[in-house]
Point group: C2
Chain length 227, copies 2
DNA sequence: CGAAGTGTTGACTATCGTCAAGATCCGTGG
DNA sequence: CCACGGATCTTGACGATAGTCAACACTTCG
């Protein structure tokens, strides 16, 4: 069920803590909050489809959204996975007028929705908002370039190791972390088939990585870094 | 030899026609031109290195620049190839303060160089400039996302076919085009080893694509589209 | 004409995708 | 609380794709 309502206090608290919104002045923040609508969608629900008019962009408050594209045979490839605090489709504010990829919830997800036209106008009035958009776009561009370089330079094993390191609380010795979502989604995020992720994990066993459900135990973080 | 001078009339003409600059108001345009420096570098010359302070961003006027990253063993992977009219490292204006990749000229190249601090200030004063930066960042983000999806969905053959179609003057029947740079560079752009590009070209022969030096003849553009 | 640089081809190998079967996890309902 | 059933994950076998190395052909330019 898609319940759509004005920003309530809990959602608002999440929204203003977002990297995108946290640097705004009070005035700019108010204007943006006014333009926001909160929605929730159940798992595996389409948010928008490639080729449809791009009239909104989004900010995830809870849950995960998968951005992906299809080839002619219908195979899907993930482009990005957005979690709490991430914005997506902001490239449509001053970009193309149709979505260039599909967006689907990976699990039950709450997000803020902004009308692109409204925000375009606000960005022209409030330098703060323009600045926030530029910072956000820059950040995304950098991480997406990272992604291209990663895909082209590293093997499945290395990409998994890198993901673990990036999400690891400590920088040396033993560590433990809990995957925030299903392995399916992680596989797509890393540009792998689920089977390849599974194999990568089991090949990491020989350097002391054990996986039980969503919990990953790392024997020595430094050993991981040498992969 | 790195000759660095104020904008001359021919370079200026190129610069103001750039997608990035062409939408600016007269006043904004003047301020930007004032902040620009023109430089030329010979082929295979490093423009900047990953990890160094990101104090400038660039706009290519003539020639080609390769953005790439290295893995630990020193293997290079191209992230983007920038030609005339393209800007690069604009993600550093409101982003990180160190370059996250290397930039190298592929051939003798002329470009405009802008100080990021100066432009950051200008963007806060002139909404036009902020708008141009946002449009530019959005465009790049979209093409980079395209690149990720492409790498993950398509084979070498398909990527080459797609490149040819994108740079093809006509939409059906026979066509001919001239590659604007060495095959080496094209290979990197498509995320391939040079040998793989060569093989992809020769596998396209059976559907009527012939290559002689930089000239590519396409028997039937429609047949290419079916790959 | 020669030499360096660029592109092509062949042989081999590593990596990863696909398909299929089996194991495990997890939520639901009895 | 347990049992069931569907979803998710793992493992194995196989094949396709593309990377690497090496030798050779072809360009290009001094």
């Amino acid at each position: 069920m898609n319940k759509s309502l004005k920003v309530n206090s809990r959602d608002k608290a999440l929204l203003v803590r977002t990297p995108f919104m946290s640097a705004l002045s009070n005035e700019a923040l108010l204007k943006m909050l006014n333009a926001a609508t909160i929605s929730s969608l159940p798992a595996r629900h389409v948010v928008f489809r490639e080729g449809t008019p791009a009239d909104h962009f989004y900010c995830v408050l809870g849950g995960y959204v998968r951005l992906y594209r299809l080839n002619r045979e219908g195979r899907e490839a993930d482009i990005r996975v957005c979690g709490p605090g991430d914005t997506f489709a902001e490239c449509q504010i001053f970009g193309d007028d149709t979505y260039r990829f599909n967006a689907q919830t990976a699990e039950n997800t709450t997000f803020a929705r902004f009308d692109t036209r409204t925000v375009r106008t606000l960005a022209e009035q409030e330098p703060d908002i323009a600045k926030a958009i530029m910072a956000c776009l820059s950040q995304h561009l950098l991480t997406t370039m990272d992604c291209v370089a990663n895909d082209r330079l590293h093997t499945a094993q290395q990409r998994v190791a890198e993901y673990l390191l990036k999400n690891c609380p400590v920088s040396g010795g033993p560590a433990s972390l809990r995957l925030p979502f299903q392995k399916n989604l992680l596989a797509g995020m890393l540009g792998l088939a689920p089977e390849a992720l599974s194999r990568a994990f089991s090949s990491l066993r020989r350097i002391g990585v054990t996986v039980r459900g969503r919990v990953v135990q790392i024997g020595d973080v430094r050993a991981l870094r040498d992969i």
